[in-house]
Symmetry: C2
Subunit: 428 residues, 2 copies
């Protein structure tokens, strides 16, 4: 039996407590699988005294996470505090500098500082792993970094914010408007303190940037993610997309194109019979496409004590087993500086608009689209309500510039009752 | 840059050719990711001269796979010949004895000899990996062995034979009987030379036994898999299951129960709105359930050149990166001898029968079920055809013994036009 591997855990919220529980309750299982005992040497959190449902009295205590991260009796620093900067980053840097491996669930820190931290880890000869940072219990970082390493990845997609998917599917099921379901989610405690992190797509955007870095061998570039939230999605959009055979999802899509790395996190339409279209509630899903493997779909819980702690333990066990893999799948020094794609890949678009009840209104819209080079695949006009007629259009593949031209020209027409909504349709 | 890792590839069929192509075409990508060049030192196959769409002239040739496996310039023996015994096994044993790592796609060999081979590999200090043996390109072995290693697994399920799933979904879509779709699949070349391997559930059973060994820390025990094929499934079963809200799948289910390890590969009903129920065509799906992670669903291509070669390369890259993990996730010497569950876990059952057109027929059946302790959840009687009336029953959870009693008692009744069909309903 090899010597024990000793953890220093900073942050004893839901996930930290979950990790402590697993280490305490599964001694034998973990030892058998890791090939050596996994022990907790020391912990750190905001409050020492607090009923966590598990005792931490047997572990050394540090008020300061940096002190924890650099203790002689810590082999792996487990960072579960959160926050992109501040103590989490300071302690992670200190751990790396002190030659400790790091396991973190901190997507914000890695999305913003992942490249620098990966370089530092490499320099120090330690590993920095982050399975729990992306899609909770779904082993997507491992699948991409290791299992699919023989592939040129072609596209990575994901529904990676359970709260947004809850809101969108609840709107669909209950026929309630966005504001009401948002409030409901808030009452249920599903939203971050700053809800923009969820509904603005930031949280999911962090995760997408991390996956894109691995998939395309690029330095993680959260700033390059085109972000659009779900706040503008109406119950009409949801119903009418349904009518055309689609579901609306806050979907992350990353592709390496001839124009550079394209990363988008935005509400998109997907076919309702596809795995993404069928994903209801708070569950996450990631779709990995590569030139050899075609398409792999991974589905599972994106949050919660058990699933996230499971992901942390997967990384810890890898380290205990002696596995040393680069943070983003290849030496950080070889990752290319991200060159952000100048324009988005052409896709079909869904357009929703309300036309004034005037003769020739639809003809004017159709003419404007045609003049801009936007070709119509399907169109539906619904019965008038309030002297305006809802019109839905699904286009053929359209370059974003052509779409923008068409939308600009439409705004000059006198037939639109309000600004049209345009959503990308992602094929799956 | 570290020294190259050198492969000896035995078997140049679809998968072997796919591996050669990846190694030849992705030199730079593989070197970056593996941290060292991946090279092919030597190959072996039944025929040397054959147009494979890729040149093998730059590699040493061995007629004898054992000679290939033991060459001084081979670091990793890649076994892609197939066959549970014979040359594949001899060469794998020789490779291990010679201190070579082994990567194989050979589910039959591992299902029958996996424990002995894992022990030998451990003894020799080499690794034996088999991602490509289970569900093609889906990284399920890695997910289970590594990512979910912090979980007590509770259930592993899978649709892992694309041909069977093709036949069943094609029957559903085309309304054609089993025999006709079987013949169609045969014409399309979807079936193994011995089709019982597919439709009898043997191939999928091999895969289930491998996953069960990892999930439950048991010595792989293919003999303990209760096998039932899809030959008895009629178009009526498919239509009537649909009517009750279900799809029929050749489903593998493994559980560790108080009564021992339960492994079943049999046609089961699953809710048609579940991920398994929605799986059409040749695609595979594996569902992994653990006490922490809840449920992870993995979906992807279960066969084909690219996907299977992708899985082989994942294992090769792991080895090149220096990862050394036990074949079944813990030292083979610590795997428990499988104790086969004496009885199956109680589940709801679907019963289909044809009753003679006699007064009181249904009452007799209901009485027999009640007397045996089988409780009815739902029942439908359809319009008579040919003087018999099709009757469908969905039971509440029923112990197999109670069901057998009921079926035995029914066979004594004078109201059944033929033997009833009983299928398990697996909750997902």
């Amino acid at each position: 039996m090899s010597s024990p591997i000793r953890l220093g855990i900073a942050g004893l919220g839901t996930v930290g407590t979950g990790v402590v529980k697993i280490v305490r309750q599964k001694t034998q299982l973990l030892t058998a699988r890791a090939g050596r005992p996994i022990e907790i040497a020391a912990v750190s959190a905001r409050t020492r005294e607090k009923d966590r449902g598990v005792s931490i009295s047997g572990y050394a205590w540090e008020d300061d996470p940096v002190a924890l991260a650099t203790r002689d009796d810590v082999d792996v620093f487990v960072e579960l505090m959160g926050g992109s900067d501040g103590p989490a980053k300071a302690a992670t840097e200190a751990a790396i500098a002190a030659g400790k491996h790091v396991v973190t669930a901190n997507k914000a820190m890695l999305a913003l500082h992942g490249h620098a931290l990966a370089l530092a880890a490499e320099e120090a000869g330690v590993v920095l792993r982050f399975e729990a940072a992306v899609a909770g219990g779904i082993p997507v970082v491992k699948a991409l970094t290791e299992a699919l390493a023989g592939n040129e990845m072609t596209r990575v997609m994901g529904v990676m914010n359970g709260t947004c998917n809850y809101i969108l599917t609840r709107m669909q099921a209950s026929n309630l408007p966005y504001e009401e379901v948002f409030e409901e989610a808030n009452q249920l405690g599903y939203l971050e303190a700053d809800p923009t992190l969820d509904v603005g797509g930031i949280d999911a955007g962090h995760k997408l940037a991390l996956l894109a870095a691995i998939a395309f061998g690029a330095q993680v570039d959260f700033g390059g993610v085109a972000l659009e939230g779900i706040e503008k999605i109406t119950i009409d959009d949801i119903k009418q997309a349904d009518d055309m055979g689609y579901r609306i999802k806050l979907l992350g899509v990353a592709r390496m194109t001839g124009r550079g790395l394209e990363q988008r996190m935005s509400p998109c339409l997907v076919p309702k019979k596809s795995p993404l279209g069928q994903l209801d509630g708070g569950t996450n899903m990631v779709v990995l496409e590569g030139d050899e493997v075609e398409q792999i779909v991974l589905r599972g819980p994106g949050a919660g004590m058990g699933p996230t702690a499971s992901a942390v333990m997967g990384d810890v066990i890898d380290i205990a087993r002696g596995f040393r893999v680069s943070t983003f799948g290849q030496p950080a020094s070889t990752l290319t500086a991200a060159s952000q794609a100048s324009t988005a890949t052409p896709v079909p678009y869904y357009l929703r608009m309300a036309l004034h009840d005037k003769p020739g209104a639809l003809a004017k819209v159709a003419t404007v689209l045609g003049d801009a080079g936007v070709s119509i695949d399907r169109m539906r006009q619904y019965r008038h309500k309030d002297a305006t007629a809802p019109v839905l259009i699904v286009t053929h593949k359209t370059a974003p510039a052509a779409l923008e031209d068409a939308l600009a020209a439409m705004s000059q027409l006198d037939v639109l009752a309000s600004s049209p909504v345009a959503l990308r349709i992602e094929s799956v």
